[in-house]
């Protein structure tokens, strides 16, 4: 992934407007947050393959960035995004990494479902 280029990400977001897209949305402080890193508890939430359609998409902020997707009835939001990639399948990957390269948040959009396992993807 590369550091976020606002114009490139905005253009990539715009390409998904109005279509059915598959969302991967995730935030985590790690399974060992409480055990090893002195935080009160491990916190994580993720949705893989939520199918959504949004009418407007925007990136805001200045490293780290925020992204909001405005849907007919609701919002998708992510904060703390630092890096992006449009992969060879045209999928948009956005992620927020901490100083040690650990993923803290991810927001990804694809026109086809995200694979459930790498084994399945290879088959």
């Amino acid at each position: 992934m590369k550091p976020i280029d606002v114009q490139a990400v905005q253009a990539a977001l715009n390409r998904f407007v109005g279509d059915d897209v598959y969302l991967h949305l995730e935030t985590t402080n790690g399974a060992y947050a409480a055990h090893r890193f002195g935080q009160p508890m491990a916190v994580c939430a993720y949705i893989r393959n939520g199918r959504i359609r949004f009418e407007r998409a925007a990136i805001a902020g200045n490293r780290p960035y925020r992204v909001g997707l405005k849907m007919d009835q609701g919002w998708v939001y992510a904060e703390g995004l630092t890096d992006y990639e449009v992969d060879e399948k045209g999928r948009l990957l956005l992620a927020g990494h901490d100083d040690e390269g650990r993923l803290a948040v991810a927001l990804q959009l694809s026109r086809t479902p995200w694979p459930m396992s790498a084994i399945e993807e290879e088959a």
């Binding site: 992934m1 991967h24 995730e26 985590t28 790690g30 399974a31 060992y32 055990h35 994580c44 993720y46 890096d83 990639e85 992969d87 999928r91 990957l93 992620a95 990494h97 040690e100 390269g101 650990r102 993923l103 803290a104 991810a106 990804q108 995200w114 694979p115 459930m116 396992s117 790498a118 084994i119 399945e120």
Partner: protein, 229 residues
């Protein structure tokens, strides 16, 4: 210190690539060097790991493929020739039907007839996937007639497990294979630097810091999980 000797077959049951190496690689290497055939059942490919390498070498979608390769490299170093991937998904094992996961572990047990089954000590694995996988392993072992059951070697992740379990049943001195143990751990490149940043610093610093880390890495501990029926 317990001696590691050749045994009929070693079966490892873990949820993530790297579980077989972090804290356990020395014991596995000693077993396989003694001529013990070894099989690893790995539940997931650690799809949701937050360590991407530092600097990052993976993203959320490439991570499982990279971790699979890392696991295969680690297995080579560990002398594990038989790797079974269950294709479950990271962080979701506890929500699956444990009996169905036990079915798959049981099938492997009946096939390779292990004398020792290594897994996390039930309920003391800290990570929910660790506990779900060890629970399924115990269910599978319990289905076997007593005389066919492997001995379950459990490792505990909780702080101060002695306070719960007493002294470990096996304390293994792995100092003779320490370099190979480190190589197996480092094969998990995407994970190692994030999890063992301080270990890496100490190894690089050399001198007393390095000695101290090497001493810690030289001992591995296991508690037998005894079945009550």
């Amino acid at each position: 210190m317990a001696q590691v000797e050749k045994t009929r077959h070693l079966l490892l049951v873990y949820p993530h690539p790297d579980d077989e190496s972090f804290g356990k690689a020395g014991t596995v290497i000693l077993f396989t060097r003694a001529g013990t055939p070894a099989t690893l059942i790995c539940g997931t490919l650690g799809e949701l790991g937050r360590n991407m390498g530092n600097p990052p070498i993976a993203n959320r979608e490439t991570l499982p493929k990279i971790r699979r390769k890392e696991l295969e490299q680690a297995c080579e170093i560990l002398g594990i020739r038989d790797l079974r991937l269950l294709g479950l998904r990271d962080k979701t094992i506890e929500f699956e039907d444990p009996e169905r996961i036990a079915d798959r572990i049981e099938a492997v047990i009946r096939e390779v007839k292990p004398s020792i089954l290594m897994t996390y000590y039930p309920k003391l694995g800290v990570h929910p996937d660790h506990d779900a996988m060890s629970n399924a392993a115990v269910i599978a072992v319990k289905r076997l007639p007593k005389e066919e059951r492997p001995v379950i070697w459990g490792s505990a992740v909780v702080h101060e497990p002695e306070k719960i379990l007493g002294d470990p049943d096996f304390v293994i001195d792995v100092s003779s294979v320490l370099e190979q143990k480190l190589a197996a751990m480092k094969a998990h490149r995407s994970q190692f630097s994030g999890i063992f940043a301080r270990v890496e610093e100490a190894l690089a610093a050399g001198g007393e810091a390095r000695e101290e880390v090497m001493r810690l890495l030289a001992t591995e501990r296991y508690w037998i999980y005894r079945l009550d029926d």
